[in-house]
Point group: C2
Chain length 332, copies 2
Amino acid sequence: MAICLAVVGATGAVGREMLNCLEKRKFPLGEIRALASVNSAGKKLKFANRELTVRETTGAALAGVDVVLMAVDADQSLEFSPLAVKAGAVVIDNSSAYRMDPDCPLVIPEINPQAIGKRPKGIIANPNCSTIIMNVPVWPLHQVNPVERIIVSTYQAASGAGKPAMDELEETTRAWAAGQPVTPKVFPYPLVMNIFSHNSSLGPNGYNGEEMKMTKETQKIFDLPSIRVAATCIRVPVLRAHCESVALEFHNPITPDAARDILSRAPGVKLLDDWQQNRSPQPLDAAGQDNVLVGRIREDISLPGRGLMLWLAGDQLLKGAALNAVQIAELL
Amino acid sequence: MAICLAVVGATGAVGREMLNCLEKRKFPLGEIRALASVNSAGKKLKFANRELTVRETTGAALAGVDVVLMAVDADQSLEFSPLAVKAGAVVIDNSSAYRMDPDCPLVIPEINPQAIGKRPKGIIANPNCSTIIMNVPVWPLHQVNPVERIIVSTYQAASGAGKPAMDELEETTRAWAAGQPVTPKVFPYPLVMNIFSHNSSLGPNGYNGEEMKMTKETQKIFDLPSIRVAATCIRVPVLRAHCESVALEFHNPITPDAARDILSRAPGVKLLDDWQQNRSPQPLDAAGQDNVLVGRIREDISLPGRGLMLWLAGDQLLKGAALNAVQIAELL
């Protein structure tokens, strides 16, 4: 079964990684199309042994496509996803546009692959990157012992804000090193030698958009409105892997050893938890890796017996975005 | 009352800031001595309108001193602090050597100034930087509504590992910008474009030294062994201000507005919590500032009614170290 697949937003940070994932995983492609904005039309992108010429995203360019990987922002997705569905494609959307739509499944293949079956709108949503990275290791623990509460603080890379943000971090770092003024344009504040609260806007409860995604998307993916998640999302000067400090409260007693054993066999998870060498996941370890790295598995000493602490690192562009979308396409 | 004061470790990152604080706060000095290792003897340090010549730390150099600000590592403090006490001085020690000694008070002037009165060894300990920055805003809340549990994740600057670490972050950032290999010598891992778990060694429970300081020192400073603190301490590529993501559980119901009101009047605290502009504390705001900046004051939505989340930034070298020590000297 050879599939005709289009990547919309193919020149962006996530779009490029989608092409890389499709190539690396030998996705059964009949035809592949690289689509983007009119500004990028005509650009060449390497794919396998050939070059793809980028075309503008139009109804004509989407004709005959079976699957669309949508790697554009929410506003653009609201424009292009219905167009792709109308052209007969199933859309896997990386934006936030359809994630909380009750008619669109929100899928992490290691957690709720069965959810893709019911997609009345023809659109499957790819969760937020921080949500995916957190839940890949939390889910297998939850299967054994229900997780009731999650407190998470993130250390998020520039890649989450797209390729211009990654370029800006590189450029401002060079400016800083040269003793020149740092004047951000993509981010609202300097990121070199600095960190700041995620700049998605604050809701009436004081949580920003990114934080509420972690709460609401987890409840939807787990199909468990009662799970309580409180997040603090912070941007750090790192290029492309997110880290997360996670405190979990379980319904029943649990030990770090039991958790380590479960996580050592969990799909999509790789342990990096060497207490002798004091070695735990770092962004530089996770960049370019498919798995979510998990370390610092220890008892939450503020909740003895029933709490655990984890420290995670995952590639925001891969499992946090492109890889998860391609895995959903593989399920189809 | 003009005091003869010596700074031991005067050429280090904290020692230099101690001299700055003494000058800026017009500490009533009769005489000031800058002491350090034999390697630094003869160096000149600016102080007010004059130059201090650094001398080696010896019993003779300490003779006649009333107060010693000790800004060396724990091993050196164990050598020099008794020497200074023998010479008749009161020692304010910034290292971890005496913090958990029941005969040495552990003091944050905004919290437990009365503790300095009972110092049978003649040594007063200055708490860990992350502990100070966290507790300056937590204490006034705790006075109104007992805090029972704290979950904290830190974002710690290079300055916490001393001047060589700050220099290394600058040098490796320049190397990275020039496309050269990054080879850390002070830190065990690259810090530019990376973050890592604090490299103090792990105890049998999997917590590192820095994390257990936050737990045990808080219990001692609050004189409250029952307060439960679980920390995750992470180093980030920032020069000199620490940030902390803090989740607090209270004994009684509390609202963000009530907390904001308390913190707006708390000593050592400055609010930076602008929801309209989505503006909260950043390391670049806190660097060089005496106060701990507090923002993102919101309900912990995973513990409605009884939990609060805070986001803090404080200058590790000032309130986290030098300023707190000088404030203790002022109490004397």
